[in-house]
Every structure is written in C-alpha cells, then in structure tokens.
C-alpha cells in the first residue's frame, strides 16, 4: 500500500478496499491532528475531531469526485468540523490550559547556547503563541494552514472555499497584527501607526 499514489488509493478505497483508506488516513493523520490541535489546544478534543474527520471522509468517499486532491478534501473536512466544534463550545483556551493538557514530547529550537538569548527566544515563542491564539478565527485559520501546514495560497483557498486573494489578504492582516503585538520583542519596529 505504501507504493501507491494517493489517487490510486482513493480509487481502491472507493471500490471498497478498506486497507487503502486506512493507508490514506495513516499518511495524513498527524498533519490533520496538528492542524486541529492549533484550535482546540486539547488532546481529547483533538483526538475526537481527528477521528470524526476520517470517519466522515470514509462515509463520504463514494461521493468524492477527485476534483481536488485527497489531502485538500480531508483538510476541508477537518476545518469544517473544527469550526463547528468551536462554535458549539465557544471556547478560547488560555496558555495555562495548553500546558496542563499537553503531555507529549516537544520539538525545541536548537542552536542558541546563551542563557539570555535562550530565555529571550523562549519568551518570544510564548508571546507568539499568545498572539496567534488571539487572532480572529478566519485569519488564524489561514495562518495555521499556510505557516504550520505549509499549504500554498491556492491550496489553502481550496480548503477554506475562498479565493487566493482572500487568503493573501488574511495572511497580510494576520502578520500585521502579530508584528504590532510583538514589536518590543522583534528587531526592527516596522511602520509606526500614524
């Protein structure tokens, strides 16, 4: 199953081959998980939503017309489920909750040996996390897909069902807000507000 392309696996899965679908899920489970986690900040909810995303994809697979790639389609499902979840819960998780629920290993930044630089960077990272959390939902969604998941504007536009221009605009606004909020920690103040 590893050797097959996504398209070939989708065709097999649509023909009733469940192993093909399981392989597709294996390929994208982590990316979907990380994307959802950026919004829920909670392992339990992320786990549920990730399962729901793939179950929904499994049930709807026969109706998937392959106009977009499988991963774009599954991302769209994940985004919709997450947005619906957030609307229901209306929750804004603070940083304290994030550290309480976060029980897995971490990737840490390497290379900075000086304690001052290290603590500065740590503080900047924390402030950046807070700033991203406080972005408006539509800006945050574009930012997460483009920056954290590496999607192009075109791919993100397909996932979010909007135009590329809209994604570009949201990215610009998100960065502008982050830059304004993190000015004291960033070298180079940027443009002063008139």
């Amino acid at each position: 199953m590893d050797a097959f392309s996504d398209e070939a696996l989708v065709r097999k899965a649509q023909g009733g081959n469940n192993e093909a679908f399981t392989e597709l899920a294996r390929r994208y489970q982590e990316r979907i998980y990380h994307t959802i986690f950026r919004f829920t900040r909670n392992h339990g909810d992320t786990d549920d939503l990730t399962q729901e995303t793939f179950m929904y994809a499994f049930k709807s697979l026969k109706g998937f017309r392959r106009k977009s790639s499988f991963f774009t389609w599954v991302y769209r499902i994940a985004v919709n489920h997450t947005l619906n979840f957030l609307k229901k819960k209306k929750q804004e998780q603070g940083r304290e909750e994030f550290f309480e629920n976060y029980s897995y290993g971490r990737e840490t930044e390497s290379g900075d040996s000086s304690p001052d630089v290290s603590s500065f960077n740590k503080e900047l990272r924390e402030k950046l996390e807070d700033a991203i959390e406080s972005l408006p939902l539509s800006y945050k969604m574009s930012f997460v897909l483009v920056v954290f998941q590496g999607l192009t504007h075109n791919q993100a536009a397909k996932v979010l069902r909007c135009s590329e221009n809209t994604v570009s605009w949201r990215m610009h606004k998100a960065r502008k807000m982050l830059q304004a909020g993190l000015r004291p920690w960033l070298s180079g103040g940027g443009h002063e507000v008139p």
């Binding site: 469940n18 679908f21 399981t22 899920a25 294996r26 489970q29 982590e30 998980y33 990380h34 986690f37 392992h43 992320t46 786990d47 990730t50 399962q51 793939f54 179950m55 499994f58 049930k59 976060y102 897995y104 290993g105 971490r106 990737e107 840490t108 930044e109 960077n121 900047l124 990272r125 950046l128 996390e129 991203i132 930012f143 483009v146 920056v147 954290f148 192009t152 504007h153 590329e164 570009s168 605009w169 990215m171 610009h172 960065r175 502008k176 982050l178 830059q179 993190l182 000015r183 960033l186 070298s187 180079g188 103040g189 940027g190 443009h191």
Partner: protein, 197 residues
Amino acid sequence: MKCHKFERWISDGIDHALNEKKSKLLRVHLERCFSCRSYEESLGNIQHFAENLDRPQASPEYWKGFRSRLKERMRLEEADRGRVQASRLEWKWAWGAILVLMVGLTFSWLSLRRASAHDLPLFSLEDSLDRYYQKIGDNAELEYAFNAVIENSIIESGTGRVLEQNLHLLDDPLIWESLSEEELKLLEQEVKKEIKT
C-alpha cells in the same frame, strides 16, 4: 506607490506567492525604504519562530491505537450500511407488491364495469314491438295486418314452426329468439308500409 501596498507584497513574498514582476519592484523599493526593510525583517522573524514553535508529538503507540479505533469504527459503519441497504431492499419489494396489487385491483374493477356495460342490450326487441303495438292501439284491423306481416316473415326465415292464427307475438318466446336485428328492421319497414296503406 505607498509603503502599505509593499507590506502586502512582503507577506506574499514570504509565502512564495509573489510573481516575478512584483518581486522585482519590491526589491527596488526595499533598497530605498528603511521602514519596509525593517518590516520585512520583523515578518521574517515571526515566520521563523512560528515554524519552530512547539508541536504536540504523539507517540507511535498512540497512532497505532488511533488506527485500530478507526478500523473498528469503519467495520461497524459497514455493518450498519449493510443493514440499512437490506432494509431498504425489503421496503422496495413491499412497495412494489402493493403497487402491483393496486394496479390489478384497478384493472379488475374496470373490467367488471365494462362487462356489465356490455349486458345492456343495444337493441330491445320487446321495446320495439311494444312501441308499434302502442301506436296501433285499439285498431283491430291494423293489429291483424301487423301480426300477419310478422307471421309471414317468421315463416320465410324458416323457423319451421307452424303458428296458430292470431297468436300474439309477445306471448311466444321462440319468435323473439328467432328474429335477428336485420329481420326486425325489415319488419318495422313492412309494418310502416302496412300502416300507410
């Protein structure tokens, strides 16, 4: 062009979403504008730190368990699907049978109606002769003439029965049965002629 337009281009450039023409124009502007260069540096730092933020790393055991649970849910979903399809098929057959029954009943009812409509006589011999006798009324002579015509017609048609004189036609069922439509029409014509004469 104002700097705020270049700010958007700087953001697009970080995402590799800027075309060649705009890239060149942006590079030319950045050489001259310190503020935009600072802004570009800030966004670059944000991008670098964002890409290197902590990511939740689930263990391989977690993912193994995740896939097992997903497979189990898929199996249950397929079992449910099978049950729903079987139930839908049963309902299809039931509705099909009901439809056939209704069509059959409708057809039978229509056939019965048509059959009873066929029982109605198109031509009533009794009524026809009765009408003429009513017209004849008390005219004994005319009645005698009419009966004679009928008698002769019957004999000519070869029924083989010798009729008694002055036998009222309506009393003899054989006479009724032996006359065809055409014969009756001829009788009518003969009677009319007799009445005229």
